[in-house]
C-alpha cells in the first residue's frame, strides 16, 4: 500500500492506494499516531482496492481519537468496493463518508 500525505494547516489528507489489510494497516496506524495539531483528517480512498477488519480498526480508533479532541475525520472518494465493505460491517453509520 502507498500512503501520500498532504498537510494544509490543521487539515491532513492521506491518500491511500492498494490494499489496507493486516500487513499494511500498521503503516497507516503509524502515520495516524503523529497527529499534533491536526483538527481535520481526510482519508482519500479513491485508489484503495480493499480494506480488512484490521484497517477498519485503525479508522475506528482514529475516529474515536478525533471525536475526543473535537476534530473530525472524513472518508473521501469512497468507491463501490470499499462502500460495500463499509456497509456490510456497518461502518457507514459510524464514519463520515463522502462519495
Amino acid at each position: 500500500m502507498e500512503i501520500t500525505k498532504t498537510q494544509n494547516g490543521t487539515e491532513l489528507e492521506l491518500a491511500l492506494e492498494g490494499r489496507l489489510d493486516t500487513v499494511t494497516s500498521p503503516e497507516l496506524e503509524a502515520e495516524l499516531d503523529k497527529l499534533e495539531g491536526v483538527e481535520k483528517i481526510v482519508i482519500n480512498t479513491a485508489k484503495l482496492e480493499y480494506i480488512s477488519s484490521a484497517g477498519l480498526r485503525v479508522l475506528l480508533s482514529t475516529q474515536k481519537r478525533m471525536d475526543r479532541k473535537g476534530g473530525s475525520m472524513t472518508i473521501r472518494n469512497v468507491n463501490e468496493e470499499i462502500k460495500e465493505i463499509f456497509e456490510v460491517t456497518g461502518f457507514d453509520e459510524i464514519l463520515t463518508l463522502e462519495a
Partner: protein, 546 residues
C-alpha cells in the same frame, strides 16, 4: 609454525640485502679514495726523485756523439753512481733515461736506453746502456705522446696488475713518473723515468678490503642477531599470540583467560590490533549472548503461544455431535487460525430447552491482542445470551460492556441467531458480519441479505437491528467469517461470495461435517501458495424439525 618462519625470513633477508649493498658501496668508495690518496703520494715522491735525478744530466751528456770519450764515460759513471744511491735510499725500483727512436714515424715503440739503474727489489733485468727497446708497452704511449706533442712537463703512468691473475711476470702495482729533458727550443731530447713499486698501496688495499669485509660481516651478524631478537619479541611473538588467540576464538567462541591487551602492552599498531581483537571478541560474545537469549525468549513465546492456541481452541465447542440426544438439527463448525492465536470464534449453546443460540464472530486484527478481545467478547455474549432476550437486546448490552475502556479501537463483527428448535423460527442480528447463506430443502445455496448494524464495540449506545426467518425441515444454514469470503490468492484476487456460493452448490447433498471440509479444501485450492492471512471459520446447521 610456517607463518612465523616465513615472516622472519622475509624481514631478515631484506636486512641482509640492504646491509650487503651498503657494505659494497662503502668498500668501493673507501677503496677508491684510498687508492687516489696513496697514488698522489707515490706520484709526488717519484716526481721529486725524477727532478733530483735530472739535475745530474748535463746538456753535453745528451748531445755527445762520441760515447767512448773519457768525458762522457766520466759523466755516465757519476750519473749511475748518484742514481744508484737515489734508487737504494729512496726506494725507486727503476730509474732510466730513454731516447726515442724512429721519431719520423710518429710511433712510441722503440727507445734507446741511455742509462738505467735498479734497486734490489726490482723484478727486472738491468738494461745496459745502448740497448734498444723494441716494444714499449701500449700503456705508456699516451704519457709519451703528451710529453712529445702537448709539451707537458711530466706524465704519470700507474700500472695495476690484476691481483688475482696468475701472471708469472707479475711486477705488482707500480707507478712511473716520466720527465722530459728538453733543449733550449723545447724539443724533447730524452725522457727520464722513475718507477716505484706501490707495495704499501697494494698491501694496504688488500688489508683494507679484508677489514671492510670482516667488519661488515661481524656487523651483519650482530645486527641480524639483535634485529632478529627484537623482531621476535617486539613483532613476531605478539603477532603469533594474536593469531593464536584469533584461531582459538574462532574455534571456541569464548572470552580469553587473559585478554590480549594485557599480555601485549605495545603502543604501536600491534598493540592497537590486540585491543581491537579484544573489543571484537567482547562484542561478538555479547552479541552471541544476546542472540541466544533472544532465541530462547522467542522459543518460550512460541511455546506459550502454542499453549494459548490450545486454550483458545478448547474454549470453542469441539465435540461433534454436541447434543447427541437432539435429533431436530445437525451442527458442525471449524476454525483455522492464521497465526498461533486468532480473533475469530464461533459458539452454540442452548439458552433454554427450546432455544439454540448460534454465534459466529470476527475480532478486528489478529494475534494475541485480538485473541484477548475475542475471549472477552465470547464470554460476554454467552453470559448475556443465557440471561434470555432477543439477539438485539443481547448485542446492545454486550456492545456497551465492550466499549468500556476499549482505547485500542478493537471491534468485533458478530452474527448472532437464536433458533426456536420446536418451530424453526430464527431471529438474528448482524453486527457488521458477513451475510449468512441459506439453502432451502431441495434448493440452491444463496446469500441472505439481512439487515445490517455496525460492528460490536464500535460505539456505545448502538441499537442492533433484528431479522427473522423460518427454517423448515431440510433447510441448511452456512455461516462464515471474512477468512472465507476474502481469502486472497497470489494474484491478490478475492475469493468473494459468488465463488463461495458456487462452491457450496457444487456439494449440494453433503452432510454438514463433509460440507465444511469440502469448503475448506475449495478455499485452499483458490488461495494456492499464497499465505493464509486471516482466520478461516465456518459453521453449518441443518434443520430437521420435530
Amino acid at each position: 609454525m610456517r607463518f612465523r618462519a616465513n615472516l622472519t625470513a622475509q624481514i631478515l633477508s631484506g636486512v641482509v640485502i640492504v646491509l650487503a649493498v651498503l657494505c659494497g658501496v662503502v668498500s668501493f668508495i673507501g677503496y677508491s679514495e684510498f687508492t687516489e690518496a696513496l697514488e698522489l703520494q707515490y706520484e709526488s715522491k717519484s716526481f721529486n726523485m725524477a727532478r733530483t735525478a735530472a739535475t745530474y744530466i748535463t746538456p753535453g751528456f745528451l748531445s755527445a756523439t762520441d760515447r767512448m770519450s773519457a768525458n762522457w764515460r766520466f759523466r755516465y759513471d757519476i750519473i749511475q753512481k748518484e742514481w744508484q744511491r737515489l734508487a737504494d735510499t729512496q726506494d725507486a725500483t727503476f730509474i732510466y733515461l730513454y731516447r726515442r727512436l724512429d721519431e719520423e714515424y710518429n710511433t712510441y715503440d722503440r727507445f734507446e736506453v741511455l742509462i738505467s739503474v735498479m734497486n734490489a727489489s726490482a723484478p727486472y733485468m738491468v738494461f745496459s746502456s745502448g740497448i734498444i727497446i723494441n716494444d714499449m708497452p701500449d700503456v705508456y704511449e699516451p704519457a709519451y705522446s703528451s710529453l712529445y706533442e702537448d709539451g707537458a712537463d711530466r706524465a704519470v703512468v700507474p700500472v695495476y696488475r690484476d691481483e688475482f691473475s696468475e701472471d708469472e711476470y707479475k711486477s705488482g702495482d707500480h707507478i712511473t713518473v716520466l720527465l722530459p729533458i728538453r733543449d733550449s727550443q723545447g724539443r724533447v731530447l730524452a725522457v727520464l723515468g722513475v718507477e716505484q713499486q706501490m707495495k704499501a698501496l697494494q698491501n694496504a688495499r688488500s688489508t683494507y678490503v679484508r677489514h671492510v669485509f670482516l667488519a661488515t660481516g661481524v656487523f651483519l651478524i650482530v645486527v641480524l642477531l639483535g634485529y632478529g631478537l627484537y623482531l621476535k619479541h617486539g613483532l613476531l611473538n605478539p603477532i603469533r599470540r594474536i593469531a593464536e588467540e584469533a584461531q582459538r576464538f574462532a574455534r571456541e567462541n569464548t572470552r580469553p583467560f587473559v585478554p590480549l591487551s594485557q599480555s601485549i602492552r605495545l603502543s604501536n599498531e600491534i598493540g592497537q590490533l590486540a585491543q581491537t581483537i579484544d573489543r571484537m571478541e567482547t562484542d561478538i560474545r555479547s552479541y552471541i549472548e544476546d542472540l541466544t537469549r533472544a532465541t530462547r525468549e522467542k522459543e518460550q513465546i512460541k511455546a506459550e503461544l502454542h499453549v494459548a492456541r490450545k486454550i483458545q481452541a478448547d474454549m470453542l465447542p469441539r465435540e461433534f455431535p454436541p447434543f447427541p440426544d437432539r435429533k431436530e438439527f445437525e451442527i458442525f463448525a471449524t476454525m483455522t487460525p492464521a497465526k498461533e492465536v486468532g480473533g475469530d470464534f464461533y459458539d452454540f449453546f442452548f439458552t433454554d430447552r427450546d432455544h439454540l443460540a448460534l454465534v459466529i464472530a470476527d475480532v478486528s486484527g489478529k494475534g494475541v491482542p485480538a485473541a484477548l478481545f475475542m475471549v472477552i467478547a465470547k464470554t460476554l455474549i454467552k453470559d448475556r445470551a443465557q440471561m434470555g432476550g432477543t439477539p438485539s437486546e443481547i448485542l446492545d448490552a454486550v456492545n456497551n460492556r465492550l466499549c468500556d475502556g476499549n482505547s485500542e479501537g478493537f471491534f468485533v463483527t458478530v452474527w448472532l441467531g437464536i433458533l426456536e428448535v420446536s418451530t424453526g423460527k430464527l431471529t438474528s442480528a448482524n453486527a457488521g458480519h458477513e451475510y449468512p447463506v441459506i439453502k432451502r430443502a431441495g434448493g440452491m445455496w444463496e446469500l441472505i441479505k439481512d439487515n445490517h448494524s455496525p460492528a460490536v464495540a464500535v460505539r456505545s449506545g448502538l441499537k442492533f437491528r433484528e431479522n427473522s426467518l423460518e427454517l423448515r425441515p431440510g433447510d441448511s444454514l452456512y455461516l462464515y467469517t471474512d477468512g472465507v469470503a476474502e481469502a486472497t490468492n497470489a494474484e491478490n484476487d478475492l475469493y468473494g461470495t459468488d465463488n463461495m456460493t458456487a462452491a457450496l452448490n457444487r456439494h449440494p447433498d453433503e452432510p454438514m461435517e463433509e460440507l465444511l471440509v469440502s469448503m475448506k479444501r475449495e478455499v485452499d485450492t483458490f488461495v494456492g501458495d499464497a499465505p493464509q492471512f486471516d482466520d478461516i471459520t465456518m459453521m453449518g446447521l441443518q434443520y430437521w424439525g420435530q
